[in-house]
């Protein structure tokens, strides 16, 4: 097991190196550059431009800039934002908990609803429930997030007034961030109603973010269940006269969960992509909105190091998913 983990971690090194190259190259391939964007309509004289570029080290050949970047990375220096001048790592750490909180709640919603819907749809294959839920899943999967988020805000916050429009907690609550997770911090603050306020602020954004993963999980669960239900061991279990609940819950579901868990693990990447739009709509101070702002300002250090951090986290989550297979399916337990 330990060897397996070490081998996987070793694989991460070339992958990470590849990501530095892609992230570094990607933002520089985009036309436009940070100095010009900062100067705006006013323009910047060629002398001044050269001066600033030299100060930022952008006058050097591109390979040298890349090597400098790698060198700094190895020393743990992820660089400073060109816009705020603050260390990229500090900004990431300040914003990351907000994204994790949102993503966790979203994946819980997606799983808790998606798996049972998939199971029921599979058992009652062809029924109205199956047809409606699977059509719903198809719509959910193709939902334009931005439009969907705005629609929910207008209906639930505007027309009904049930949920707050945006933000993480009502502005009347004001306490120091301890963990960065608003649900936990609001409990720790001991202020009346703070937790309820944080929870109510999470509902709409997490539902929006959960929409696509929910659709994928429901469909994946359904097809995995259908496949498993046709297997011999399920027929045997039925033939033994086991109650249906036990056949489905233990024999079928447990085996069907293997591909479903892979799917849930892969949704982490989808969640990160979804977070960019969701955070922008709901003014959610997380890393998705941070990346978007930085890309549009060509804030090179933030984009290249931010992408690297996000990629590292996605890979580690995937590794953890890999390891959990073993817990569910002893056949692929790693030696």
């Amino acid at each position: 097991m330990l060897r397996f983990i070490l081998a996987k971690l070793l694989y991460l090194i070339p992958t990470m190196l590849g990501i530095t190259l892609v992230a570094f190259g990607f933002i520089r391939l985009l036309p436009g550059d940070p100095v010009l964007l900062m100067a705006g309509e006013r323009g910047v004289s060629p002398e001044r431009y050269a001066q600033i570029a030299a100060q930022l080290g952008y006058d050097k050949p591109i390979w040298q800039q890349y090597l400098n970047y790698l060198g700094n990375l190895l020393q743990g220096d992820l660089g400073n934002s060109l816009v705020t001048k603050k260390p990229v790592l500090a900004e990431f750490l300040a914003l990351f908990p907000a994204t994790v909180e949102l993503a966790l709640v979203a994946i819980v919603i997606a799983t808790v609803i998606g798996v049972p819907v998939g199971v029921i749809a599979a058992i009652k294959r062809g029924s109205w429930f199956d047809q409606i839920s699977m059509t719903g899943a198809l719509i959910g999967f193709s939902m334009p997030i931005f439009w969907w988020g705005l629609l929910l805000i207008i209906f639930f916050s505007g027309v009904l007034g049930w949920t707050p429009v945006s933000g993480r907690i009502s502005l009347m609550y004001f306490f120091p961030p301890v963990t960065g997770f608003m649900l936990i911090d609001s409990l720790l603050s001991g202020q009346d109603g703070a937790f309820a306020s944080a929870l109510s602020h999470l509902i709409l954004p997490s539902v929006v973010l959960a929409t696509i993963p929910l659709a994928v999980i429901a469909r994946q669960t359904r097809s995995a269940m259908l496949e498993v239900m046709g297997e011999d061991y399920v027929r045997t279990a039925r033939a033994k006269g086991l109650p249906t609940r036990r056949v489905i819950g233990v024999h079928a579901l447990r085996n069907a969960m293997i591909p479903v868990i892979t799917t849930i693990g892969l949704q982490i990447g989808v969640l990160m992509a979804g977070a960019i739009l969701t955070e922008t709509i709901f003014s959610w101070p997380g890393i998705g909105k941070w990346m978007i702002d930085s890309i549009s300002r060509r804030d090179y250090p933030v984009v290249q190091s931010g992408l690297l951090l996000i990629a590292a986290i996605v890979m580690i989550v995937n590794l953890i998913v890999d390891l959990t297979y073993g817990l569910i399916n002893p056949r692929i337990r790693h030696k």
């Binding site: 004289s45 805000i153 429009v165 933000g167 003014s283 909105k289």
Partner: protein
Amino acid sequence: MSILSTRFLAASALVLMAATPLSAKTFVYCSEGSPEGFDPAPYTAGTTFDASGHAVYNRLVQFKPGTTEIEPALAESWDVSEDGLTYTFHLRQGVKFHSNDKFTPTRDFNADDVIFTFMRQASAENPWHEYIPGITYEYYSSMEMDKLIKSIEKVDDHTVKFTLNQPEAPFLANVAMPFVSILSKEYADTLEAAGTREDLNNAPIGTGPFKFVAYQKDAVIRYQKNADYWGEAPKIDDLVFAITPDASVRLQKLKAGECHLMPYPSPADIADIKADPNLQLLEQAGLNVGYLAYNTTVAPFDKPEVRKALNMAIDKKAIVDAVYQGSAVVAKNPIPPTMWGYNDSIEEDKYDPEAAKAALEAAGVKDLTMEVWAMPVQRPYMPNARRTAELIQNDFSKIGVKVDIVSYEWGEYLKKSMEEGRKGAVILGWTGDNGDPDNFLSVLLSCAAATPGGANRAYWCNQEFSDIIAKAKTTSDHAERVKLYEQAQVIFKQDEPWATLAHSTQYVPMRKEVTGFVQSPLGDYTFETVDLTE
């Protein structure tokens, strides 16, 4: 280290605040973006200035609320020498700086603070010049303060003398701008001693109407009323910026009562806002211009008669109606009508496609194909450049001119539109920094700006025009300056290097209970005068 100290500072400030219950009057502003930092000097975004320069700081002089006139602020009065080369500022006494948990001022504001504020930007040798690696002072350099200011001397604790290299009429307007907000020298010394210099940018100390309390990145900025304010103290107790980047979401928050006031509504929502009984809408002609700049160095656009003919073919009224949804006025001059020096006797280009066609033929132009550049972003002076370009394309097709619409990514657009020999006419615009006509005419139309990296995208160099605005810049007599700018606009109109399109209206939607908000022609959002009625 820096992360820890910043965190500690923010956390301890929060603890302090949490101990006191939120006061009765909290005003929430749904701001459009995050500030880049809280030191106004190194940054250029209006969003940053609203959060730092206007809330926390003061300048030597300031713009009278709602106008671009200069009035005393931290300088009570000033004398200008006969030759216009020295400005002696007499500083206000008894002005207190804010305090926070790391700093309590031991003295009032004085001349040392003024000198610190300017010298750290002016001199590369100043120990605070690059107190954060990579920091630069873009406004100080683009307003050419470095070339303008010869020396700054402390005459006594309450008198500072600025000596200029040449007379400069807009000087007072320049020092009213946020980039020269007065910082505390004593605070800088304290941070220096503590080894936390970057807190000058994280935990600002100023003399302004509001004290900075805490900033949670990309989410909320909190301020508290400065009870010791030298001017009239704010009527609200707490000021909160709730950062809300999307315009539709801002409006939803305003409607739901989650904030009291918002900037930059989408033009499409104006009718909806007007119809809402819980909201009120302020509007004001913006200090801006949207234009189409021909390249006057490339044939056939080097001929004024060709440019005039094309301008006659543009139905500007239709652009105002369709693109700005009526919230703009048709532009006939390069400066907006609310600016002093505006020449109202200039005649508007008449929309007359027939005459335009004839004029084009008379100029010997046939089968003209041209590019019209449309920028990819929405700006306060231009809500939709693409749509504008399409309308111009349609207008020009009526006089037999074929238009190809071209667009680039924004940074690339700014760069390519300034390349010499650029083909095609460029849609762009400008929003004033300080209300002085020089801030439009010199920056956008002088010969000096018709160089790579300048902002004269028509590459129009009319020596007579440039001489007149240069003279106006160094003349201190206001009436004389007005005359010179009026004259400059006549020359502009004779040559028509641009098709001036529109001056857009700026809207400020707010809740019914908000009173006392004064809309700034410069697009600033300041809250020292606001109040809430029950």
